[in-house]
Amino acid sequence: MPEPFDQMLPGARSCGGHRGCRIRFEKRGRAKYISHLDLMRAMSRAVRQAGIPLWYTEGFHPHPYLSFPLPLPLGQESLCEAMDLRLEQNMPLTEIREGLNAILPEGLRVLSVAEPWNESGEIHAADYVVGCDFISEARASDWKSRAGELLGAGELRAAKRGKQGRRKIEKEIRLAEYIHRWSLEQNGAGVTLRLRLAAGSAANLNPALLCGALFAGAGEPADWSVTRTALLREDGADWE
């Protein structure tokens, strides 16, 4: 007989009696150069070191249960990352936060620890801030108007790598289908591009892909950075 479906969902509130726990953290500064795989390893070490009573999977190779609902690409910063754990015993949530913050490397900081409210599959979109710096105010304003035209026309395309079965394929996508909202704002020699992009398991767009296409048409800024600022549900509310 198959197991009840709700017990198999990762991140479910109660999982085979093990308490779920969602850690929200930021990844900034030099921590943005920690790749996703390395982040998983670093987090699992930090959790052990902090003495958090992790639940281990059963079987021949027990491993701690850690999951990341929406991995962040290398080189991007975030104010809203999430990591789900399952605990074997209860531990006060504030102790988890303080314990981890005492250990985590510079740039990784736990903001909150709570019981998960939404399923990871409920992530629908994410907000990003792309900060673009230019060598002069004139360049910035020039770029802003060109970028605005390109985004407004909705014709930007990019090659996205994906898989068809086992085969690796590259397909061209229309970026507009993934852009829920955008705005441009100039501040001196800087332009801030705010984006709300499709995110999650159904449709997802890496903002770097959009930036690549945009810079190809409007020119490349002298310096730029990407920060993820929020994860959202389909109804537009914060994913929690």
């Binding site: 920690i34 790749s35 070490r45 930090a46 959790v47 080189g75 985590l104």
Partner: protein, 614 residues
């Protein structure tokens, strides 16, 4: 310079995590630095990639020890990969310490660990990227920066002599402490470099190459090595007598990107009782000194707690020879099992190990089983004093196969002294016998084949071994033997990998090289030599041209040495005497083995050896 300054480079390189620093456990003393309370800045350099350097226990020990002093900030520096080097040169970014992000040219001490001859070009490259003049003589009379080196290759550092101010021979813990003390005092006194070096040469284990003049005769052989007044005629290596009371770090810097050995590690002992005649590490580390099991246990426990690592490795040259291994493992498993920490015991001889203990260690779950018979016939194994018999290999393999293992690695060397074509054929025969053993096993796992990975390294004669006088095979000989070995392999289950003969030969040249090679090294580096130990980076033609430009023939360095010759490292004293090495050489030629140090003392000359019954 700060992190901000290197950030634009990080975006353009592979594995930016190699260069960011800020890992858990890394030491930040910027507050003391800004308050002007840090007299000593120390760059501890590993002349290879971050992933390799961060796996090295010696770096961790010296880093922790130097940073345990309030007057010193020790930072890590690794060789930038070629992509980063290009960007650094294009943008004029000087090599920085990972902890502060500040250029190391302004530091007091720049120390290199000398693990492998093929990393020498990286040392020059790192000095150059730092903006430090390569030659010690060109760095002027000021005390800083002082360029020092230590590690196994310091046993013959002659090819590096002109680039370094001093070398530390032997164990580094006490010598580093004394050097830092001395440096702090001389910095306060505003001494010149020459004053400091004259004082440093009086410390045990410190070799100041500029205080020794080497002259050569017309045949290019060394005529004499003259010490300056006040410098010892022979420099004795440093030995830590008591490992239990010796400093050992309680925490490691835990890398964020995956490195080669990513785990907690401690030594069980230094040195080795075995006396394999090709093995330099075994002779350099004499006498054997063990840590007590309680100390090992406590060190591992503290490290696991402070790092979060899930694996602890007990490392030594021949782990099975640790006298208290069963007691140690029994005690450790009591706390590692509940914490789900894996204990890994490399170079364990499982044929002598209780089955039940193996299962507790979960050894059977591991990927593969490794043997190092080193030579293909019993005759040649006797010559090299490698005491492992074919029957031992086969019986262990049998035991492992019945326990469900399906892969075996076998390590051999080719080019050993007295080697014949039969010895080479014997390598393939032994691999075949292991393969046959698998299929003879009645309870072998169904539907699974066996993989036997055969690795054939080239024998490189090294200083302070009984083979230090031997000729090294030529490129033609090594290539021919590799082809011969391959022709003897009949089974598809056996895969063979051989070392790049050109790399081994260059290693052989520098291992027994003299000071004249410094010019060759510099010429090769100027022509672009980097990461020479990496098959995909090594460029043999650069080195050929470098030798030609200096009118030196590499074959003069790989040739057989006369027993009467002055060897480039004869003024360095590693305890083992030349008389002992000559006796061992003669025994090798007679095919006589020498018992291990616990069975009978062979009179090697190592100081203060405390092995019982010797």
């Amino acid at each position: 310079m700060s992190f901000k300054a290197i950030e634009p480079l990080l975006r353009q390189v592979q594995k930016p995590g190699r260069y960011t620093g800020g890992e858990p456990g890394s030491i930040d003393k910027s507050a003391a630095q800004n308050a002007g309370e840090l007299p000593l800045r120390y760059a501890l350099c590993f002349p290879d990639t971050y992933e390799i350097g961060m796996s090295h226990l010696g770096m961790k020990i010296l880093y922790g020890l130097a940073n345990s002093r309030e007057d010193c900030w020790c930072e890590r520096v690794f060789a930038p990969w070629t992509d980063m080097e290009k960007l650094m040169r294009a943008g004029g970014t000087a090599l920085w310490g990972l902890e502060s992000g500040e250029p190391i040219a302004g530091f007091d001490l720049v120390g290199f660990t000398l693990q492998y001859e093929m990393s020498y070009s990286n040392i020059l490259n790192m000095l150059d990227l730092a903006g430090i003049p390569l030659r010690a003589a060109a760095r002027g009379g000021a005390l800083a920066p002082l360029v020092i080196g230590g590690g196994p290759c310091a046993c013959n550092p002659e090819p590096l002599a002109p680039f370094f101010d001093l070398f530390v021979l032997g164990d580094g813990e006490q010598a580093q402490r004394e050097l830092l003390d001395l440096l702090a005092a001389h910095k306060k006194r505003q001494s010149s470099k020459a004053e400091f070096l004259r004082a440093a040469a009086k410390l045990e284990g410190v070799y100041v190459p500029s205080l020794y003049t080497v002259t050569y005769n017309r045949n290019g052989l060394i005529e004499a090595v003259e010490p300056a007044p006040g410098a010892p005629a022979r420099v004795k290596k440093r030995v830590v007598r008591d490992l239990d009371s010796c400093y050992f770090p309680e925490r490691f810097v835990v890398p964020l990107l995956e490195v080669v050995h990513d785990r907690t590690v401690t030594e069980l002992f230094r040195g080795c009782i075995r006396g394999c005649r090709f093995c330099q590490a075994g002779y350099l580390g004499r006498p054997v000194r063990e840590k007590s099991p309680a100390v090992v246990d406590a060190q591992c426990r503290a490290l696991c707690e402070n790092t979060g690592y899930e694996e602890v490795s007990l490392c030594s040259l021949s782990t099975s020879d640790y006298s208290a291994l069963p007691e140690l493992l029994d005690g450790m498993l009591d706390w590692t099992l509940p914490r789900k920490i894996n204990v890994s015991v490399p170079s364990l001889r499982i044929d002598r190990f209780p089955r039940e203990m193996m299962e507790r260690l979960a050894l059977l779950r591991r990927g593969g089983l490794t043997f190092a018979p080193e030579a293909g016939s019993q005759r040649l194994r006797d010559v090299i004093n490698k005491n492992i018999t074919q029957e031992q290999v086969l019986s262990t393999a049998r035991q492992a196969f019945s326990g469900g293992w399906t892969s075996v690695k076998l390590y051999f060397m080719i080019g050993l002294p007295t080697e014949t074509r039969e010895d080479i054929a014997g390598i393939a025969q032994l691999a075949q016998a292991v393969t046959d053993e698998f299929y003879r096993n009645p309870d072998k796992p169904k539907g699974k084949g066996v993989t036997v990975s055969l690795s054939a390294a080239s024998f490189v004669p090294k200083p302070f071994t009984p083979f230090q006088w031997e000729a090294m095979d030529t490129k033609e000989q090594l290539d021919e033997k590799q082809v011969l070995l391959r022709s003897h392999i009949r089974s598809k289950k056996i895969s063979l990998s051989c070392h790049h003969a050109d790399i081994s030969l260059l290693e052989g040249v520098f291992a027994r090289g003299d000071r004249r090679l410094a010019d060759v090294l510099e010429a090769a580096w100027r022509a672009g030599a980097r990461f020479d130990g990496w098959d995909d980076q090594f460029k043999p033609e650069l080195w050929r041209a470098a030798f030609e430009s200096r009118a030196l023939d590499p074959r003069d360095y790989t040739r057989e040495r006369e027993e009467s010759e002055i060897l480039p490292w004869d003024h360095l004293n590693y305890g083992v005497t030349k008389a002992f090495l000559l006796r061992e050489r003669a025994r090798a030629y007679r095919g006589e083995t020498t018992p291990n140090c616990r069975e009978a003392c062979a009179g090697c000359g190592a100081d203060e050896c405390r092995i019982q019954g010797g």
